[in-house]
């Protein structure tokens, strides 16, 4: 688990709040820029955080996103309360989505979110308990692997 000593921010996200989708990733991007984090790292963080944010909004009742600035990495943790994921392996398959029509109409729910997070992370971990919620952690090394 990440060390709380390096915790930089916690954001609270309400489920189905599509109007605010992107606010958290935008805030984090701004904060990391202020801290002088390289652009390439920020680009990955933006993608990862946006997808995690949208997943909480799309599928959970509510959740949090925390980020940590460790000496050698940025760590992002997303935790939510909600239906959780029945089949974690299936959920990570590109193209697989449980999104309803209203979500798909907005261009979300393409089934690429978790793949996007995984592909832009140096380390990625996800776990879920159905009817409780989902946890994911993404680590991006500041100096590459």
């Amino acid at each position: 688990m990440p060390n709380d000593e390096y915790l930089e921010g916690i954001y609270y996200i309400q489920g189905r709040d599509f109007v605010d989708a992107g606010i958290v990733s935008s805030e984090m991007k701004k904060k990391l820029k202020e801290k002088g984090i390289p652009e390439g790292i920020i680009r990955k963080v933006a993608i990862i955080t946006f997808e995690a944010e949208v997943n909480i909004i799309s599928y959970a009742e509510h959740g949090t996103i925390k980020y940590y600035l460790e000496p050698e990495a940025v760590v992002i943790e997303a935790n939510d309360v909600g239906a959780g994921i029945e089949d974690i392996e299936l959920a990570q398959q590109e193209g697989y989505s449980t999104a309803d029509d209203s979500i798909r109409e907005m261009g979300f729910g393409a089934g690429m979110g978790l793949a996007n997070i995984k592909n832009h992370s140096d380390e990625f971990e996800i776990s879920s308990v159905p009817c409780q919620g989902t946890y994911l952690r993404s680590i991006i090394y500041l100096n590459g692997k």
């Binding site: 990733s25 991007k29 933006a46 949208v54 907005m106 261009g107 996007n116 592909n119």
Partner: protein, 113 residues
């Protein structure tokens, strides 16, 4: 090539953030699936899409696109324009279908003097 050049040469209409039309366009991306655009588009791209809701502004802002062009005569939502104005993302509209407009922008960018 600036966004202004694209707007002028193709007779497009800018709906907000006119002061940002000087944005340099380094490439382009066409797509209506937001995760696809998040994962595959680049900073400085002009994003061509049929989506009109306010979440397109979040995507364009995070990816630092030069601007968004909405096709097929679709009208951006009022909230979209408000958010775009706040974030400084130019929203441009075209009556052309996506295929044709993308072709024209691509052509302009790759064959301009």
């Amino acid at each position: 090539m600036t966004l202004e050049t694209i707007v002028e040469k193709l007779g497009l209409k800018c709906k907000c953030c006119w002061e940002k039309l000087g944005n340099e366009v380094v490439g382009g991306y066409a797509g209506d699936l937001l995760s696809d655009v998040m994962g595959n588009s680049k900073k400085g791209d002009v994003w061509v899409t049929r989506q009109v809701h306010l979440n397109i502004v979040a995507v364009a802002s995070l990816k630092e696109h030069a601007g968004i062009v909405i096709v097929n005569g679709a009208i951006p939502d009022k909230e979209t324009l408000e958010k775009a104005q706040k974030e400084g993302i130019p929203i441009i509209i075209s009556d052309l279908p996506e295929f044709e407009l993308v072709g024209k922008i691509y052509d302009l960018m790759h064959h301009a003097l």
